[in-house]
Amino acid sequence: MKQDVSQDTKGRAGAGSSGTDVVLPSLGFLGTLRWAWTQLTSMRSALFLLLLLAVAAVPGSLFPQRPANPAIVTQYIQNNPDTGPVLDWFQLFDVYSSVWFSSIYLLLFISLIGCVVPRALAHFRAVRSTPPRTPRRLSRLPVYGTLEVPAHQARAAGLTPSAAADQVAALLKKRGYRVDVRDAGTDRPSVGAERGLAKELGNLIFHTSLIGVLVSVAVGGLFGYNGQKVIVEGDSFVNTLIGYDSFNPGSNFSDDQLQPYSIRLDAFDVRFDREQTSHYGQPLDFTANVTTQDGPGEGEESQVLKVNAPLTIGGTNVYLVGNGYAPVVTVRDGEGNIASQGPVVSVPSDGLYTSLIVIKAPDAKPDQLGFVGFFLPTAFVDEKGVSFSRDPDPFNPQLNLNSYYGDLGLDDGTPENVYVLDTENLTELNSRNNEDGGIVLGVGQTYDLPEGKGSVTFDGLKRYAALDIHHDPGEVGALVFSTLALLGLTASLFIGRRRLWVRTGEHPDGRIMVEYGLLARGEDHRLPAEGKAVEKLLADSWLVPDGAEQENRVQGAVPSAAGTGQSHHNPKDN
């Protein structure tokens, strides 16, 4: 390919362990192992694994994932009884913890380590060694140029080739090069210089930091935990295992990690847009006013919790991730006793807070009672007689319920979902689908159930806040390592690693001749500019006249460059 021509000149050979030219070893277990290792740590494998990782990540966005949405996954498998279990077998609902996804990234990281370690050693040696020896023909280098100090000027300044080389070395050192003067005292002394070792260092930091990020993520998975809790206005949450609605411990979690702090939701304030017709009712602000306590008996503190502004308490962060209405409902049973009373959390299903609600009264006698239906903050009835919500604020709160009696199925100990009513073993008492319709209740109203089964009262309305509580000890590490990675990456991509050689000599007529050549390692489009800059630096320091006299030098007064017959691209020429 054509590209290869140019790449050779950029010293690409140094990058990567170029495992492509591996020769098959003659038999032997160790030999095979070494061969496999060389293959794995080659640039080609790294590239292949990277692209494979990209492809493997995609299914996770196409299928619902268990860690994020366990309920939706269960639903999906139920709805697709043919394909669901097959997809599940291939771990397509747990892509990011699947055997195949994990294998890819683990292989990639093994390859990464196998790649970084030898390169780090090589770099360590490179840093400690002197710049590489001066090539015999500088004119062969991609950037090459010459300049000369006129004889009278050289004489006046007492400039010799060696003195010139020393001065070049000093100038280059100031410019950030590592320098080494060779053949000092001979008639052809030279300076070897190198700069931009930070490029490789940046690359190594970048790759190593990726390992750091991975380890931090693992630490979070092992020692972190998170849980969810819904708090209704006036209620409190205590940070203990039973305090949570749901809890996901990391694999190495232990109970004593939880510090028993508490949070009370004093008020939940909501503001919706009332000015703009196009966005009427769009949320503008959610604020949870809470009172926190670091532990039993500790002082109370009022705090504000908002979206995008978590609370930090007891080694955890507390996030406001949702909100909604909790209608306060009293259920009386057939015997006239209160079977359940208090706020019931409803689940909003749209921006107007049309909310699903399930009420269970397992203590009701003689039969357990259950209700399922909607809560509408601003109820309205359309021409077809269907109720719907017209506004997220509670201007006309209304409960629309169907009622059931029978066995709620709560007694056999299987974990239940408070937001779902399993009606399989229940008998319908009334419903919107019947002719006499379902239960419709405004605030303060009571409905007597048919057959003397009891009554239900809508006492009032509260709001609730849904909180996520997280503890992730790997977080800081992930931040530090990814920042390091970013810095390393920037250094690696934008620092130019250059080698520069300068050779001096004296022409029989007394002119001091200087030639220089530059070579980049890797991509470096600024190499010619650097050549120009260095030439200018030297010219300025020796007061080499500009212009006409310079033309001569192309004729090649410098002994070694002259006569090669090469026409080189001189940066001065363009």
Binding site: M1, K2, Q3, D4, V5, S6, Q7, T9, A15, S18, T20, M43, R44, L47, L50, L51, L53, A54, A57, V58, G60, S61, P67, A68, V95, P142, N226, D273, E275, Q276, S278, H279, Q282, P283, D285, F286, K306, V307, N308, A309, P310, Y319, V321, D468, I469, D472, E475, A478, L479, T483, A485, L489, L493, G522, E523, P528, H569, P571, D573, N574
Partner: protein, 344 residues
């Protein structure tokens, strides 16, 4: 409490947006005209020269004869293409292209005014919904293109880039029209400013390199054809530098954009940590941001892997860009996830 939005100013912004679109369309027409005109000029010039001396066609440099590669000595003799250094000055003056660039500048100025008035009207940064991502993103594409033009003669990608800008503006006004509004609580964070602006800027850069990679592929196949002695069927590519120099320049731009994208990903993770309590959760949008990052990391690797430079690297750059487009359109619209910009 923030001030209410200024709906009147919002309408002025929409008017500016419309005017800018019209100016871009006219600029696009001129860019295309330039391509057509230049390739017919070349053809005419060539047939005249071919008549004068019997030299084989490809020995004659097209317009803007290859300047001696100032630097890297990789200047292999390749079939006629525009100046590889992509500097101005060589070749005949292209009046039509000048008009096209002037019109693009005019359009970008109006466009900039539209973006700024939108932000002023809403009292916030103008990138809070799809309409705003599109319009602000399109402005950045145009601005970055114009800035690059001051240093390099990239007019050959003009019709491509301006075409994409027009598409983005159409998508915004037709696909996601949204009057100015305040931000929902989920977006009320300074990370919106940081995360989204860098994301949009990086995507704008990727847009330009995408255009260059497509041209690179076309140019590669044309160069191969010419070397094999076949006739030149895509004369307009004479205006385009050689595949190698396209590759090198798009590599430089991709490198900058990749750093930007890395930062986007990190800032997104920090924001996710603040908003949702975890810095990474494989939400659909996060998945695609990761996929894009990995593809471009693959691209950078490819450039250092033997046998993977050139055409294959260009394909990776193109695939990466297609992922960006997919992430922005299909994922935003059809995939549900935390990033669906609804309320909490």
């Amino acid at each position: 409490m923030p001030q209410p939005v200024n709906a009147g100013l919002g309408e002025i912004s929409e008017l500016f947006m419309l005017l800018a679109s019209i100016a871009y369309v006219v600029a696009l027409i001129f860019f295309v005209l330039d391509l057509v005109k230049s390739s017919s000029t070349i053809t005419a010039l060539e047939s005249r020269l071919a008549g004068e001396n019997a030299a084989p066609e490809r020995a004659l440099a097209g317009i803007g004869a290859r300047a001696a590669g100032s630097t890297t000595s990789g200047a292999t003799s390749s079939p006629a293409t525009a100046d590889d250094s992509m500097d101005y000055g060589s070749g005949p003056r292209r009046g039509t292209a000048r008009v096209a660039v002037s019109l693009t500048i005019l359009a970008a100025v109006i466009h900039g005014a539209a973006v700024v008035t939108r932000g002023v009207a809403a009292h916030r940064v103008p990138w809070g919904n799809m309409y705003e991502f599109c319009t602000t993103g399109a402005f950045l594409v145009a601005a970055i293109f114009l800035i690059t033009l001051t240093r390099k003669d990239l007019r050959f990608v003009g019709s491509f880039v301006v075409g994409l800008v027009v598409i983005m503006l159409c998508a915004a006004t037709v696909g996601f029209p949204t009057p100015v509004a305040r931000l929902i609580p989920a977006l009320q964070s300074y990370w919106l400013i940081v995360h989204v602006s860098i994301a949009v800027a990086s995507s704008a850069l990727f847009t330009i390199t995408f255009a260059m990679s497509v041209l690179q592929l076309l140019q590669t196949s044309r160069e191969a054809k010419l070397l094999a002695g076949k006739t030149d069927t895509a004369k307009f590519l004479r205006l385009v530098p050689s595949a190698l120099s396209l590759e090198n320049l798009s590599y430089r731009l991709n490198a900058i954009a990749f750093v930007g994208w890395t930062f986007t990903l990190m800032a997104g993770a920090i924001w996710a940590e603040q908003a949702w309590g975890r810095y990474w959760g494989w939400d659909t949008k996060e998945v695609w941001t990761f996929v894009i990052w990995t593809v471009y990391a693959g691209y950078l690797h490819a450039r250092a892997t033997r046998g993977w430079t050139g055409t294959r690297a260009a394909w990776l750059s193109i695939v990466g860009y297609l992922c960006i487009v997919f992430n922005f359109t299909i994922v935003n619209i059809y995939f549900s996830g935390l990033h669906s910009y609804s309320g909490v």
